[in-house]
């Protein structure tokens, strides 16, 4: 009886290891595709251990740069949030890991000339701000409040 148990255990271990490996093999390095939009700015939330990038088109970039909070039709924004992990290669640094949420804001002009700001969640759930889950309008305001990073 004992040899059979031993053989079965060995098989079980081999099977478990091969399962682990195959699931590891499914892990991939993913580069987010912003579909032609460029980086407007970035932010890090150390409490939630998340990192975000706000992407935008040229119209969005100039609106974000402007001191006034006015908007125009054609602006497109994508706000992307990742969970972050410690970078195993360099102590003291973090690096983005799993993708948590993708949100899209677009400004359209309606027939009557008024502007419509459209908000869509493309992936996941938006994270809280100051511990609070924002309603849609506040979330739009929060995203549009971002100012571009200073860059030469």
């Amino acid at each position: 009886m004992r040899p059979i148990i031993t053989i079965l255990s060995v098989f079980a271990i081999i099977l478990m290891n091969s399962c682990n490996k195959s699931s590891d093999h499914n892990f991939k390095r993913i580069v987010f595709d912003p579909e032609g939009l460029q980086v407007v700015t970035s932010s890090v939330n150390k409490k939630l251990e998340t990192m975000s990038i706000l992407y935008g088109n040229a119209e969005a970039y100039s609106a974000a740069l402007s001191a006034e909070s006015t908007h125009a039709a054609g602006e497109k924004y994508t706000f992307v949030t990742w969970k972050y992990d410690e970078n195993p290669l360099w102590y003291g640094t973090t690096i983005n890991g799993e993708l948590l949420c993708v949100e899209r804001v677009q400004v359209f002009s309606l027939d009557d000339g008024k502007l419509k700001i459209d908000y869509q969640i493309k992936l996941g759930k938006p994270l809280p701000v100051n511990g609070e889950i924002l309603n849609q309008q506040d979330r739009i305001d929060y995203i549009l409040e971002h100012k571009p990073s200073v860059m030469p």
Binding site: F27, R29, F32, T41, V44, I53, Y91, G92, T93, L99
Partner: protein, 301 residues
């Protein structure tokens, strides 16, 4: 008997071929807390300073050749006797390198510790260095003052001493990753199409010709939501893959352009072989000498 005498005679003659290690003057010695200095002196100074004090057996040919080469290289990469000539930013960077090299057990060199056991850095000593390095980050930026003014003014062309020019092209590339360094800085890392493809295919042993990566670095500023936002712009760090051109830096050409003025780093074309590559080579070999290759994640999530 005759052979023995000849061998001894030759052995003594060979010793005369050894080149002595000269200690140049100490020009700008490192200043740090006493406990930190004591560790550096005991574990690092023999190679990384102008106060090299070797044992008799380090001076025997042919061991002495290896020792001299190690000391020359060590002084080139980081010299505690000329520490004061580094900018505060560079000093901070070197301290992070020291911490990471000790943590990964890359320094002191294993071959050195095997014959100089007194140089080993103990766990408790690593903690002392860690505490010091983390304290260097706490010059943190003011809360709530996010700089929003982007000065776009014409500027002269900027070229690194190794010929790598600054280019705005990366602003159209994809972001490969983001990172923070403790309380110090936050970074966004861009890759060109060749680099992005290499990452997605896990093909960086070696990285393909023409891969380019640009890291944009800012100081951290906390906003009203307790989030960290990019503050003062620090620098752009560039890596370009050309294995035929950059033979002494693992095929990567390095460039750094600092401040809004984009001032290039380095005095000579070989600056990167004296600084950048040391850490990349020792600590990031598994990702083809890049630190910020995105982690593998579960795509189904």
């Amino acid at each position: 008997m005759i052979f023995g005498s000849i061998a001894l005679f030759v052995g003594i003659l060979v010793q005369l071929t050894g080149e002595e290690i000269v200690n140049p003057p100490v020009t700008a010695k490192i200043e740090a807390p006493t406990a930190v200095l004591a560790i550096l002196k005991r574990s690092c100074f023999n190679c990384h300073s102008n106060e090299t004090n070797l044992k008799w057996y380090d001076k025997i040919v042919p061991i002495s050749f290896k020792v001299k080469a190690d000391v020359d290289r060590a002084r080139e990469v980081m010299n505690f006797s000329e520490w004061g000539s580094l900018s505060p930013g560079e000093q901070k960077g070197k301290f992070w390198a020291i911490l990471n090299m000790i943590k990964a057990e890359k320094m002191p060199l294993k071959s050195y510790v095997s014959v100089h056991p007194e140089a080993r850095v103990l766990e408790s000593e690593y903690e002392i260095i860690k505490e010091h390095v983390l304290s260097l980050g706490k010059s943190a930026a003011p809360i709530g003052k996010v700089i929003t003014e982007n000065k776009v003014s014409p500027r002269p062309e900027r070229v690194s001493p190794n010929g790598i020019p600054y280019s705005d092209d990366f602003k159209h590339w994809k972001v490969i990753s983001m990172s923070t360094l403790y309380d110090n800085t936050m970074r966004v890392i861009y890759g060109n199409d060749i680099a992005v493809k290499a990452i997605e295919e896990d093909n960086f042993h070696p990285w393909p010709y023409g891969a380019k990566v640009v890291k944009a670095v800012w100081e951290q500023v906390e906003n009203k939501y307790g989030e960290v936002r990019p503050g003062k712009f620090v620098n752009f760090q560039v890596m370009v893959k050309d294995a035929k051109k950059y033979t002494d830096t693992e095929g990567w050409g390095f460039a750094k352009f600092s401040s809004l003025e984009l001032l290039p780093t380095g005095k000579t074309a070989s600056f990167a072989s004296k600084s950048c590559i040391s850490c990349h080579r020792q600590l990031a070999e598994e990702t083809g000498f890049l630190f910020n290759v995105p982690l593998k994640v579960n795509p189904k999530k």
